[in-house]
């Protein structure tokens, strides 16, 4: 008797073969090609048999014989939402379902995978950890993700300058993919922008594993930084798993509340491009330093 896992794999294989036979899938490769395609519009699925297939791009109209095809295309171009996908009876068509599963998997990967060592090495930034001990706890105990471990406090104190004007750091938050796909473009643009504004007293950036937004308060207090900028991975959705936010705070204290933070969200290639976001943040930080406040007081004051 087949275990449930085997059964599932069997179904998937049969469905894929059937689809290929009917010409629903382009480019089915039976050879063993384990790597994943990097073309973003053609997501790939690798199944147990190392078979790999490419799905048609998500922009494809799946409605059967649409009367106004161009109208559907125009509407689809306005949103990443899954519209104009047709249906099979009351359900999704197979391509839609597979895209959905692929996107859902990406979202899960973003939450469950670590930011790679290779990435941190390439960026030349050191890593510290919050009081969270593993991924499971990171998800269930947000309070611990707001506090640095004792080792982290020591490492930061040793490696970072105190009393700087601007301290930038990176935290995985809920998407390690957001970090890996945006920080390398954003950070140099931010630093170049700050220097261009005459702000040169910038602290050494580092990475906080299992970090939440509020960990920036402790870091700000520890380093007595005037402005703290946290680049943190946003909770992934089915539209994108790569979205990054910047939480900026002026002189955080134990009494800091959420309204004291200035937030810039939706930083990714499909939103505000990370380079442009870096340049924008530089100007925003200049305003915060000038106003000596951040968050709601900055917008209304």
């Amino acid at each position: 008797m087949a275990t449930e896992e085997n059964l599932e794999s069997m179904i998937v294989q049969n469905v894929l073969k059937e689809l290929a036979k009917n010409g629903f899938l382009q480019n089915v490769k039976t050879a063993s090609v384990p790597q994943v395609s990097e073309t973003p519009t053609h997501r790939s699925i690798v199944n147990d048999a190392d078979e790999y297939i490419e799905l048609p791009p998500i922009s494809e109209i799946l409605i059967h014989e649409p009367i106004h095809k161009e109208t559907v295309a125009a509407l689809k171009a306005m949103t990443p939402a899954r519209i104009g996908v047709g249906r099979a009876g009351p359900r999704y068509r197979t391509t839609t379902l597979l895209h959905y599963l692929a996107d859902h998997s990406q979202a899960q990967d973003a939450v469950f995978l670590d930011v790679s060592d290779e990435f941190l090495q390439r960026m030349g930034i050191f890593e510290v950890q919050t009081q969270v001990s593993d991924r499971e706890e990171h998800l269930t105990r947000p309070d611990l993700g707001c506090r640095l471990s004792r080792e982290a406090r020591e490492k930061i104190s040793v490696n970072c300058k105190k009393n700087v004007q601007v301290q930038v750091f990176v935290a995985d938050g809920l998407s390690s993919k957001a970090i890996e796909s945006n920080v390398a473009e954003l950070l140099p643009a931010l630093i170049q922008g700050l220097q261009g504004e005459g702000i040169t007293d910038i602290g050494t950036p580092f990475f906080v594993k299992y970090g939440r937004v509020r960990v920036e308060d402790e870091i700000g207090i520890l380093l007595n930084a005037e402005v703290v900028v946290e680049l943190v991975g946003e909770r992934p959705g089915l539209g994108t798993a790569n979205s990054l936010s910047a939480y900026i705070i002026y002189k955080p204290t134990e009494k800091t509340v959420e309204a004291d933070r200035t937030v810039v969200s939706n930083i990714h290639m499909g939103g505000t491009p990370p380079v442009e976001a870096g340049a924008f943040l530089a100007g925003l930080i200049k305003d915060i330093l000038k106003a000596k406040t951040s968050g709601i007081k900055l917008t209304t004051g």
Partner: protein
């Protein structure tokens, strides 16, 4: 400090056409639509027309000069009637259209008038822009967005008919034909011919008619002429291109016709007679009441347009389409993260040069060569030019640095001569590119870098002072090409 999330601009539109001159004043509301937690996204959210002038006859001296003092007087009278002073006008456009654009002093009059009309009021002309403004003002553009259709708007004026094709809001084609309601002038309420424009002579010849000024024209003969004209107007988009009367009267290239039209809309003064059900049977007095054959051309067009096989949609504006297009549709806003030095603005009449066909090359040396070559070819010696660039090779920090290096190298001569560095990007990266260039030439305070604006080689661009707390700049893209005088 003004509100950082909302701003209002008073915009004037002035249309000096073959037959009529009109003024409108409108209020444009700009708002930051992004939430507190995002990078700003400023858009024009409302366009309200505050004042519509009467429709005046364009003051001309003989048939070849615009009566500039009379036009200026007309404009000041309208401003005071509307309750506005020049100082209160933030922006707008003066457009000189149709046959009037061919007058000897057209260029001089329009630039003087733009200066007189307000601070950031720009001068525009050319059949392409005229067509686009009319199509925006008539509502054809909005219609194409709302119904997701390909719509052709024909603005039938006194001297010319201007075509613009919109597909889902985008301009895909334009053309212009020398057909209009004022090409044959009549004694008002009578039947004596007062003037016959050269284009009308061609039509008459085709109809086997010769009617000279001073003669009396028969209704049937005039109808033959307007039928022929209407046939030519429709042939441009529904017939065989370049053939017969249409081919002879075209003032621009033919429409490309590489798209399928769904809908036709007619605007301009003549349009009222196209859509008016009661105007089908006109008496001679009704035909000549405006001193030309306009009403009759409308009647002829009604039939011709219906026979084109396209769906005939009703415009929101007819005779005022162009002036409304100029007054409330010509201004756009840049992207909301830009890099500009306020003191340098406004900039007007900046010629656009497009150095790369697609995205910029990744190699700075290649960027340099292409920039230098495009500047040389364009040959603008005594003015700063705007470089139009789709975007860097890719949206990475390194590619932006390469682009900045290549641009700075390619613009060395311009920089040495004290010219401004004006970059107009399509993709959202103006702030980052601006700061990258500044990083390479520290201390240079003459960099204007804006994005999310579509411009083409040969366009001209006007860039206004920043609004909404300095977040965006107003931009007017235009073509300054004046019509070539035809052989009269």
């Amino acid at each position: 400090m003004r509100d950082r999330n909302r701003d209002e601009l008073i915009s004037v539109g002035i249309d000096i056409g073959t037959t009529t001159t009109q003024v409108i004043i409108s209020k444009l509301t700009l708002e930051n639509l992004a939430g507190r937690f995002s990078v700003p996204r400023v858009q024009i959210t409302q366009k309200e027309i505050l004042y519509r002038s009467a429709i005046h006859f364009t003051p001309l001296i003989e048939h070849h000069l615009i009566d500039a003092p009379a036009v200026a007087a007309l404009l000041s009278a309208e401003y005071s009637k509307a309750g506005f002073t020049t100082g209160e006008i933030d922006t707008g456009a003066v457009i000189i259209t149709g046959e009037t654009a061919k007058k000897e002093n057209a260029k001089a009059v329009i630039s003087q008038l733009a200066g007189f009309a307000g601070d950031f009021v720009v001068a525009t002309a050319g059949p392409k822009l005229e067509a686009i403004m009319a199509g925006k003002g008539s509502g054809a553009q909005a219609y194409s967005v709302k119904h997701k259709k390909t719509v052709i708007n024909i603005d039938v004026g006194g001297g010319t008919s201007n075509y613009v094709v919109f597909n889902n809001g985008k301009v895909v084609d334009t053309a212009c034909i020398n057909v209009g309601g004022h090409l044959v002038e009549l004694e008002p309420l009578g039947s004596r011919v007062a003037y016959v424009a050269p284009a009308a002579r061609k039509v008459m010849r085709e109809c086997g008619l010769t009617i000279e000024p001073g003669q009396t024209a028969a209704y049937a003969d005039l109808k033959k002429i307007t039928d022929k004209m209407a046939e030519a107007v429709v042939a441009v988009f529904a017939g065989t291109p370049g053939q017969g009367m249409a081919g002879e009267l075209m003032m621009t290239e033919d429409l490309r016709r590489d798209y399928i039209l769904d809908t036709v809309m007619v605007s301009g003064g003549v349009a009222d007679f196209v859509y008016d059900q009661e105007a089908r049977a006109l008496s001679m007095e009704e035909v000549s009441r405006y001193g030309d054959i306009g009403p009759l051309l409308g009647v002829s067009l009604h039939k011709a347009v219906l026979e084109s096989g396209l769906f005939v949609a009703r415009p929101e504006e007819t005779i005022r389409a162009t002036v409304i297009g100029a007054g409330s549709q010509s201004l756009e806003v840049s992207g909301s993260t830009i890099s500009v030095v306020e003191d340098l603005l406004p900039l007007t009449n900046i010629p656009v040069v497009k150095p790369f066909a697609g995205l910029a090359p990744a190699d700075p040396a290649k960027v340099k060569t292409l920039v230098e070559r495009s500047l040389e070819i364009s040959g603008f010696e005594d003015t700063s030019v705007a470089l139009a660039i789709a975007g860097p090779a890719d949206m990475s920090f390194n590619s932006l640095q390469s682009l900045a290096r290549g641009l700075t190298a390619g613009l060395t001569r311009e920089i040495e001569r004290g010219r401004l560095i004006i970059i107009v990007l399509e993709q959202d990266c103006a702030k980052a590119l601006g700061q990258s260039i500044k990083h390479l030439i520290p201390g240079n305070r003459s960099i204007v870098c804006v994005d999310q604006v579509l411009v083409e080689d040969g366009d001209y661009i006007d860039i206004g002072k920043p609004i909404i707390g300095g977040r965006v700049v107003p931009i007017i893209v235009k073509t300054l090409v004046f019509n070539r005088p035809d052989n009269d």
